[in-house]
């Protein structure tokens, strides 16, 4: 079990210029949806972008996070940018 805000905090602390929107739509604190934007994604393939997110979450991916539906964006592609 994990709070979605905790996941967002970890990502924002580990990835440069990162904004992360994390939710658990089912309310079970195990299945999450995340939209993550970071300048670290610039020039990287989707696989590499997702890997960076998984690496930042480390052992949480093997434990408290049962599933994470992931969308990654570079800052210029971020649809929610202000």
């Amino acid at each position: 079990m994990m709070e979605p805000t905790k996941i967002a905090e970890i990502l924002q602390a580990s990835l440069p210029d990162c904004q992360a929107l994390v939710s658990d739509n089912a309310g079970d604190k195990e299945h999450f949806q995340a939209e993550v934007v970071s300048s670290a994604f610039e020039g990287r393939s989707r696989i590499q972008q997702h890997r960076l997110v998984y690496q930042a979450l480390g052992d949480h991916m093997k434990g408290d996070i049962h599933a994470l539906a992931l969308k990654t964006y570079t800052p210029s592609k971020w649809p929610n940018k202000a």
């Binding site: 696989i47 997702h50 093997k62 994470l68 539906a69 969308k71």
Partner: protein, 108 residues
């Protein structure tokens, strides 16, 4: 299986099958929502594909994560190359990349 032979076993599967999906359950009875979605995406794009049920083999279930340096299942391989999990499959389905790739395969 020893750790070495698990990696070899996975390598054989992804080289011998042009489109290979590692999933939970099988294409008739997927055992997880993400695996079910992946099967559906492949079917919608007219792919001929093989699946391996990681729930049937704990060694492959952990070995596949190491093989791709990717912590989640399902995982899709085309022509031996790791393409991604269900989120990337969905993106490639929506933007048509997957269809182009699969049509390219059957043309050969």
């Amino acid at each position: 299986m020893s750790e070495r032979s698990v990696q070899d076993f996975i390598k054989d599967l992804v080289t011998q099958n042009q489109v290979m999906l590692f999933m939970k359950g099988n294409k008739f009875f997927p055992a997880c929502g993400f695996s079910a979605k992946s099967v559906q995406i492949l079917k919608m794009n007219g792919a001929t594909f093989e699946t391996f049920d990681v729930l049937s083999d704990p060694d492959v279930r952990s070995g596949i994560k190491e093989f791709a340096q990717w912590p989640t299942i399902p995982q899709l391989y085309i022509n031996g190359e790791f393409l991604g999990g269900s989120d990337i499959m969905m993106e490639m389905h929506e933007n048509g990349e997957l269809k182009t790739m699969i049509e390219g395969l059957s043309a050969n």
